[in-house]
């Protein structure tokens, strides 16, 4: 039976239809796509080690643009300009401090001094700087490549380079095809859009610190945020993981010694007798430095994760814990810890604080820099009642770190360097201020 015309037509059309259907899958029938991906990332900026080392210089006093850690020695205040160098301030008259010079040290965040030698970091190097004559400051020795962990460091061909900063970059990428589905934030299935994920280390630069007094009559006094400190004939430094020892028997010839691995997120170091109190975001470490070349761990006092400067006095350690983006956690408090038994530190009392940073103690007075909440002065004669004995609260200033010096308090913060006379604790007097960005 012959097919009807309708079915003959249908057969012809079905063939054509199948041809088209095949073409539907075979043909390059592609979408026109224009994708614009705009994002911010932090681009690493590198400098060669020779550029960094050649940049050391002593120049005329500069306006303070950002105050970092402080150190005091023989009537002079050494104020760190984070990442840039050190302001030398004549403080023979605390009511009228005079900014006298600026030492340009790229990558400097920490310092300590003894005798006529100022020890300062410069990214990966330790500098021993002779400050006996302020008109003729010079490097006596550069100990190279002793701080490799704090800063990314690699070799680019024959010349080494140092990561100096991260520069914020707003990037616009335009693609003429798909990004694909987003696998996770910033990463797309189809090969575009991988973002820079380098660690933003500028903050960790700011964590680096200044030192506190050590043994020996001619070393200076640093703050509680210090990463450098001097005890006896040794300079101790901490990076995020390690405790490093430098022999400074010959002050102008520091020699790198042992390095002791501690943990991670190490922040501060404070000498107390022949012990070293080390603050980290996970707890307080106590090291025995009776053999100063080879300190070893005695004990650890753990606490919640937070930023943690520590000082010690009269068998009691004072630890401030603070929260924040960088510090993690939600804890803001002062822990008072009995360290009579160094192998078994015991929490005595905890007092609520607002956002405590550095702290310092002189006899019965405890000074706590509360960040944006200002400066607090407590009567610490009874360690169990500190929180109930607030003597003064300067809440209209930003306070980062303090150094109490026999009646004169040095305090740094976002607003500059402040000094107070606390010789009469009932009547603390403001003495002077060097403001950030003040014209000289």
């Amino acid at each position: 039976m012959r097919p009807t015309p309708t079915y003959r037509n249908f057969g012809s059309f079905a063939g054509l239809f199948m041809l088209l259907l095949t073409g539907m899958f075979m043909t390059a029938c592609e979408d026109d796509v224009k994708v614009t991906h705009t994002y911010t990332y932090f681009e690493p900026v590198y400098a060669t080690t020779s550029e960094i080392r050649d940049a050391f210089d002593v120049i005329a006093p500069q306006a303070i643009t950002s105050s970092g850690k402080i150190y005091y020695l023989n009537g002079y205040i050494f104020l760190n300009e984070p990442g840039k160098g050190i302001h030398i301030i004549n403080n023979e008259d605390p009511s009228n401090p005079v900014n006298e010079a600026f030492i340009n040290i790229p990558g400097n965040f920490d310092m300590a001094a003894k005798g006529n030698i100022l020890y300062a970091d410069s990214y990966i190097d330790l500098l021993a700087i002779d400050i006996s004559d302020l008109d003729n400051i010079e490097i006596k020795k550069r100990v190279e490549n002793v701080f490799p962990i704090r800063y990314d460091f690699f070799y680019n061909g024959a010349e080494s380079v140092v990561l100096t900063e991260y520069k914020e970059v707003r990037q616009v990428d335009v693609y003429e095809d798909d990004l694909g589905q987003m696998v996770h934030p910033g990463v797309f299935a189809w090969g575009h859009g991988f973002l820079a994920t380098a660690e933003f280390s500028v903050n960790s630069f700011y964590d680096a610190g200044a030192p506190r007094s050590g043994g020996g009559s001619s070393s200076g006094v640093g703050g509680s945020m210090a990463r450098f400190t001097i005890a006896g004939h040794y300079l101790y430094t901490v990076d995020s993981y390690n405790l490093s020892v430098f022999d400074i028997v010959n002050l102008d010839d520091p020699v790198a010694g042992n390095t002791v691995e501690i943990s991670w997120d190490i922040e501060t170091i404070f000498p107390y007798g022949d012990k070293l109190f080390i603050g980290s975001r996970a707890g307080m470490y106590i090291f025995n430095a009776s053999n100063p070349e080879s300190p070893y761990l005695l004990s650890k006092f753990e606490h919640v994760r937070s930023c943690d400067p520590v000082i010690a006095d009269k068998n009691i350690a004072y630890v401030t814990l603070r929260s924040g983006t960088e510090c993690e956690g939600f804890t803001n408090q002062l822990d008072v810890i009995d360290v009579t038994s160094l192998e078994n530190p015991t929490l005595m009392k905890t007092f609520a604080m607002q956002n405590p940073h550095g702290l310092g103690k002189d006899d019965n007075l405890l000074f706590i820099a509360e960040g944006e909440y200002g400066l607090k002065v407590f009567d610490a004669s009874d360690p169990l009642l500190i929180g109930e004995r607030l003597l003064e609260h300067y809440d209209n200033i930003h306070a980062y770190d303090v150094i109490p010096l026999d009646g004169i308090l040095l305090m740094t913060g976002d607003d500059g360097l402040f000094q107070y006379d606390y010789s009469d604790p009932e009547n603390i007097q403001f003495l002077s201020k060097i403001s950030v960005n003040a014209s000289l």
Partner: protein
């Protein structure tokens, strides 16, 4: 809130399709099945199709629904108004379009051609929590195609294939680890696809 908006949109599309389908059903019940359909008359058509094309793997196949109500001017020419729903991986599109079609013969089974022209509203499907949609826009919809109509009493079963173009764009931000809304993506896409399917016309 996102879920509610999503459901409302889908509800809107389905309501539109249902409304069109309902009018089709009413028309069917008023047609005398014994008498051949006159050349000049209102017609109703429902389509179900698949959409296929190359989009660098971002979107695979999609399916499409269309409902058209129109008028047959003669045995060979007709025009209608349609509403549809295209379900892509990342977007839904609701086109509203004008259909013009012409068949080779005025009666019986016959090849035919058609062209849809209109505007497709588009919106993003589900998004992760870290994504914030800033803008989503549809665009021009165009679909020319050919088909074959098999006449069965006073209705017809059609198979068709067509080329489809649908413009759309969207813009969103997301947290890439450097903070909320740090990254922004905008996409302008012209989908060029082939479709195939079947339809029923009354």
């Amino acid at each position: 809130m996102k879920l509610i908006t999503h459901l409302l949109r889908k509800g809107l599309v389905l309501s539109g399709l249902a409304l069109f389908s309902y009018s089709t059903l009413i028309a069917q019940t008023t047609t005398d099945p014994e008498s051949p359909p006159p050349f000049k008359r209102i017609y109703h058509e429902g389509e179900l199709g698949i959409i296929q094309g190359n989009s660098d793997g971002n979107e695979g196949s999609a399916f499409a629904l269309n409902v058209i109500n129109g008028y047959r001017f003669s045995g060979q020419l007709s025009a209608g108004l349609g509403i549809g729903w295209q379900n892509y991986d990342e977007m839904d599109v609701m086109p509203i379009f004008l259909r013009l079609s012409g068949s080779l013969k005025s009666s019986g089974s016959t090849p035919y051609v058609f062209a849809d022209t209109g505007y497709g509203w588009a919106w993003i499907e589900d998004t992760p929590e870290f994504v914030r949609i800033l803008e989503e826009n549809g665009g021009v919809y165009f679909r020319p195609g050919i088909g074959y109509s098999i006449s069965i009493n006073n209705w017809s079963l059609n198979i068709f294939t067509a080329w489809l173009m649908q413009k759309s764009s969207y813009r969103y931000t997301y947290d890439d680890g450097w903070g909320p809304d740090n990254s922004e993506v905008s996409e302008e896409r012209t989908r060029k696809r082939f479709t195939a399917g079947i339809s029923v016309r009354f």
